[in-house]
């Protein structure tokens, strides 16, 4: 029995069974990128490090899917704030894939409405693409009546970065805040045991 206990202690931790999230087979390092945050300051890979980050990709002219997702993410944060075993809350990041219309000031007003701790970022198309292509996030303009009036099709997934800034897990739709919060705690425990 003692030997069995010893053996199990030496075995690598098993990936958790998640309700909604998908864990990457191995955490994927992300190459550096250079975006602008909602204060107009540079936001790079370094800013993803030190904390877990939930990231959602969208645009502020989107009245339906994006507010629904950000409200949902705010609920995840509210659940996690009640967790006693969580020393620091993950960052909530909204990446605007519409830099032509979403300025840092627009983003600040928008994201802070959902959660005062959310951070909005955007950037030049090429820099956005540098980040999104590493994550499998897709987006493209569609429809619209004029150059300023268009819609954007975009990936609806929420990406989870680990505190080393690596692509660690993703959450596809439909999103349920309770399931995502409990999945996050399992993912975090697994990460702590694995590192």
């Amino acid at each position: 029995m003692f030997a069995a206990a010893l053996l199990s202690a030496c075995e690598p931790p098993q990936p958790p069974h998640l309700q909604q999230g998908t864990l990457l087979p191995s955490a994927k390092p992300v190459a550096d990128f250079n975006l602008i945050d909602d204060k107009g300051e540079s936001f790079t890979l370094k800013d993803l490090q030190g904390r877990w980050t939930f990231a959602f990709f969208g645009y502020t002219h989107c009245p339906d899917v994006c507010p629904t997702s950000l409200s949902m993410l705010a609920k995840v944060m509210a659940r996690l704030r009640q967790e006693e075993n969580l020393p620091s809350l993950p960052r909530g990041l909204f990446v605007s894939v519409d830099p032509a219309r979403d300025t840092p000031a627009t983003l600040a007003n928008y994201v802070k409405y959902f959660d005062a701790d959310f951070v909005g970022v955007t950037g030049k198309s090429q820099q956005l693409h540098t980040l999104t292509r590493q994550l499998g996030i897709l987006y493209a303009k569609s429809g619209g009546d004029s150059a300023d009036d268009y819609l954007i099709d975009h990936s609806a997934a929420i990406i989870l970065f680990d505190p080393r800034g690596r692509f660690y897990a993703l959450f596809n739709v439909p999103h349920d805040p309770d399931k995502i919060a409990s999945d996050f705690m399992l993912i975090r425990n697994y990460y702590e045991a694995s590192e």
Partner: protein
């Protein structure tokens, strides 16, 4: 203000007596400050024997209301403009987050939670119904 009240009375007066359609649970999602677009949702029950369709929505608060449908296919969220929303006989259609919704440019001043906004629904059979939609802060 007097003009708006008169307009409202006029609009209300135009409500059709079609008992077959019932509009319920209308609400408008409060937009973040400065957000350019807002969305509204509601449920329409068609209790009649006739197929019908929602062909437009108007409001004194919003100069232009469009009907849209969001859908997520293969992980990509898309929004499409629709000209009409079918209301099958004895059926119910829900305009809800992530699906059919009304989309309108945010007016100035921006309607906030607690306010109520008149929406007039226009149907394919020529009928109209007016609802008062509360602005709400919810997903």
């Amino acid at each position: 203000m007097r003009f708006l009240l008169a307009l409202l009375a006029l609009t209300t007066g135009m409500v059709s007596a079609d008992g077959g359609l019932a509009v319920q649970n209308a609400w408008i999602r409060e937009a973040p400050p400065g957000a350019s677009m807002m969305a509204a949702y509601l449920t329409i029950d068609n209790g009649s024997d006739q197929d019908n369709a929602l062909v437009g929505v108007s409001s004194p608060t919003f100069p232009r209301i469009m009907m849209h449908r969001s859908e997520t296919v293969d992980g990509i969220a898309r929004m499409q403009h629709v000209e009409r929303i079918a209301l099958p006989a004895h059926g119910s259609v829900e305009l809800a987050p992530g699906g059919y919704h009304l989309m309108m440019a945010t007016p100035d001043p921006q309607p906030v939670a607690g306010e109520r906004v008149a929406l007039t629904l226009h149907f394919a059979d020529g009928g109209e119904q007016q609802v008062m939609a509360p602005v709400k802060k919810k997903p």
